[in-house]
């Protein structure tokens, strides 16, 4: 087997193993912690008979590992069980909302990735001069903001000071693509703002790192044009670190989405999760938590795999 393929397969296998361990962690974390689920659902005033009945119907009297494998089996076949609070099918509820979350995150990624790389290139090109200082100064302050704070600054600015947008992002099935795009404009701006700073700073650092290599000096001493130096010598070596920077920040986006959805009352997965945490609806929390974790781990695997593939030392072994 080609050594690259071997490494990639190894990395993916490791990722899947990690995902399995995480599913145990999520399940055990919610089941093993102190606190009685049945009590949590029915409240302090529940009668002992009602509690016993609920425990029976939830299968709480079985040992933990059996319930875990039962749960895992369900998850693997797409059956996440039913919500405790309203008996709704969790799989269906997730399916409805997952698309909205992906749409929001996708829009934010589509804008922030090229923008971050572009700004990172500009900042690296003018390293230490005013364009770099302006870009770095602005991003340093946005890095210090939690998502919801950034969100309210943007809302205040763009709905009150300059009334351009609606402060609530409602999307529903049957909306046209453009209407949807208009509806998510504000949350997308917020997400871009939050993720852009990290992505741009890391891109800048990655490019500067490459630009300081001895082989870039060699290229300059060859009398090559600045464009050729960048295209032929800097970029092929900067691609791998930039890709991993971008993908890691997309993983970061996954968390930002949760908060931003709540701010804008955007009916999607993050909102769904937060609602059900407050209602202590365990099956929903477990299912959605696992999905977020899976996306996050998946993106991390992708970053590693791309870095492996882009490494010339691995592509052309001795």
């Amino acid at each position: 087997m080609h050594p690259i393929l071997k490494l990639v397969v190894q990395r993916i296998a490791l990722g899947l193993l990690l995902l399995l361990a995480v599913s145990v962690l999520i399940y055990a974390g919610t089941e093993a912690l102190p606190g009685d689920v049945a009590q949590a659902i029915l409240g302090q005033s529940a009668t002992p008979e009602a509690l016993a009945n609920l425990r029976e119907s939830l299968g709480l009297n079985q040992p933990g590992y059996i319930r875990y494998f039962h749960w895992l089996g369900g998850v693997l076949t797409g059956d996440f069980g039913k919500a405790l609070t309203n008996g709704q099918d969790i799989g269906q509820a997730i399916a409805q909302r997952l698309g909205n979350t992906l749409f929001l995150a996708g829009c934010a990624a589509a804008i922030s990735v090229p923008l971050a790389i572009g700004l990172g290139l500009v900042a690296a090109r003018y390293n230490g001069r005013w364009p770099d200082k302006v870009i770095s100064g602005i991003t340093l302050s946005t890095i210090s903001l939690p998502e919801f704070v950034a969100a309210y600054f943007v809302i205040y600015l763009l709905t009150q000071v300059f009334p351009i947008f609606q402060p609530v992002a409602m999307v529903f099935p049957g909306m046209s693509f453009w209407a949807k795009l208009n509806a998510v404009a504000l949350p997308v701006i917020v997400l871009v703002l939050v993720v852009l700073a990290h992505m741009m700073r890391m891109t800048r650092a990655a490019i500067l790192n490459v630009m300081q290599s001895a082989y870039i000096e060699t290229a300059e001493l060859k009398g090559l044009s600045p464009m050729r130096v960048i295209w032929k010598h800097a970029l092929p070596n900067a691609v791998a670190p930039i890709i991993s920077v971008v993908v890691l920040n997309l993983a970061y986006l996954v968390v930002g989405v949760v908060v931003v959805e709540v701010v804008f009352s955007y009916n999607a997965l993050g909102q769904y999760l937060v609602d059900h945490v407050a209602k202590r609806d365990l099956p929903v929390v477990q299912a959605v938590g696992l999905i977020f974790a899976a996306v996050y781990i998946g993106l991390n695997i992708l970053a590693d795999v791309l870095a492996i593939v882009a490494n010339p030392r691995l592509r052309h072994p001795k």
């Binding site: 001895a214 009398g223 090559l224 001795k318």
Partner: protein, 540 residues
Amino acid sequence: MLEIKNLRIEATSYPPDGLPRDVVLVDDVSVSVAKGRVLGLIGESGAGKSTIGLSAMAYGRGGVRLTGGQVLLNGRDIRGLGPAGLRALRGREVTYVAQSAAAAFNPAQRLMEQVIETSLTHGLMGRAEAEARAVALFRKLGLPNPETFGDRYPHQVSGGQLQRAMTAMALCPKPDLVIFDEPTTALDVTTQIDVLAAIKDAIHDTGVAALYITHDLAVVAQVADDILVLRHGKKVEYGTVAEIITAPKEAYTQALVSVRSIDHVEKGAAPSVLSVQQITARYRGTSFDVLKNVTIDLPAGQTLAVVGESGSGKSTLARVITGLLPPARGKIVFGGRTLSPDLPSRSKDDLRELQMIYQMADVAMNPRQTVGTIIGRPLEFYFGLRGEAKRKRVQELLDQIEMGKGYIDRYPAELSGGQKQRVCIARALAAKPKLIICDEVTSALDPLVADGILKLLLNLQAQEHVAYLFITHDLATVKAIADRIAVMYRGEVVRYGTKTDVLTPPFDDYTDLLLSSVPEMELGWLENVLAHRKMASAGN
């Protein structure tokens, strides 16, 4: 061809705790190089030799600026050229060979693409012609499989080969002037001689002019026609190789030429202090013996030099003796006792009597401790000295290493490289050891400073009757201080004995190769050695 007049180079330094200020790197330096001639630039680190070399391409690293004088190339002052003019000059009229070719090649491109790049971008020749020229250069430089060598990536070839490939890259566009910036410094000595010969041949065959930058006078004496000796950015002496080597005028040059002539008389037989018996060792998790059946013996109060190139196992030997790496087989007798193989079970006296000095004094001292604490700790730890008694003893030790008063409360960062190494020596001495292991202790120092350290070590040996196990790759150092020598190659001791015995023929093959590869400060040495080797191989 190249004429530099009254060159002045400045840079802005940004100290962490003050305002930026301008510092002068090079001041009032004038040289000229004619077609087909090689000018050697020689000096310690910080002498400004690389900075002058790069000024011939009007290139300054990290904020370095040419602020005065003229750099005339083919009759015109290149300081006045704009960016486009400079690009036309770089890589076409003047090319550059860096010290570390491994870092100077783009890891993501095949060697051939990089070697012929300038020939194509400057429109000097077509691709086919450029590739043919590159292959011819590969062959001339003695690279293996010249036809297919260019298809490889930089990480797929060895350091010595990369250095030659870089020379091919510099010569490919038929430049007028090539700048060689320490091209053989990073190589092992047996590799260096071949690369040096290849470079010298290539320079002569192509008839280019060259600037050859190095800190090693013996190396530059082999390839240069003229030599400029630099110190602190100023000219010390400028003349032909013969003038500089045989009749140096300035005291500094004289010191450089005579740096390797410490007179050391080999001591006679004495009882053994350290006896390493049939040691075999490997690192955990590997299946390869780094040391194979090593047996050596070191008489008390004498110096055993362990010589070898990288990968010979000489540093591993030190780790085994100190107990950091317990051997798989064999035993070590020290001061009449058999040492326990691993460190934690050795007695405090065993530890005290066996001290160590490292190559990089910077990282061998805790930057958060003062000189007084560093030297005082062994006094406290082994002898229970405290307070005024300890301080007095520290000062005695400082006097012994010729550092005098005023250093006891300083931090390592405030000392020069040579002073740091002296403090490390004092720390080892504080334990009143029978044996000090010196691991490449002079390799990171400039020649004159290294010389001072060696003399100090010899004086201390006479006073304290301490033995040294001196690990080094530098044969000149060995000749200067050793009483006994062990030559190591791939984990084995290939030759062991008194200095006179080891350095007197007949030699085994490896010792012969090693000894004959060390550049000597002598005109025509390189040619003699190569002719001798050719004859020897023809004779076989």
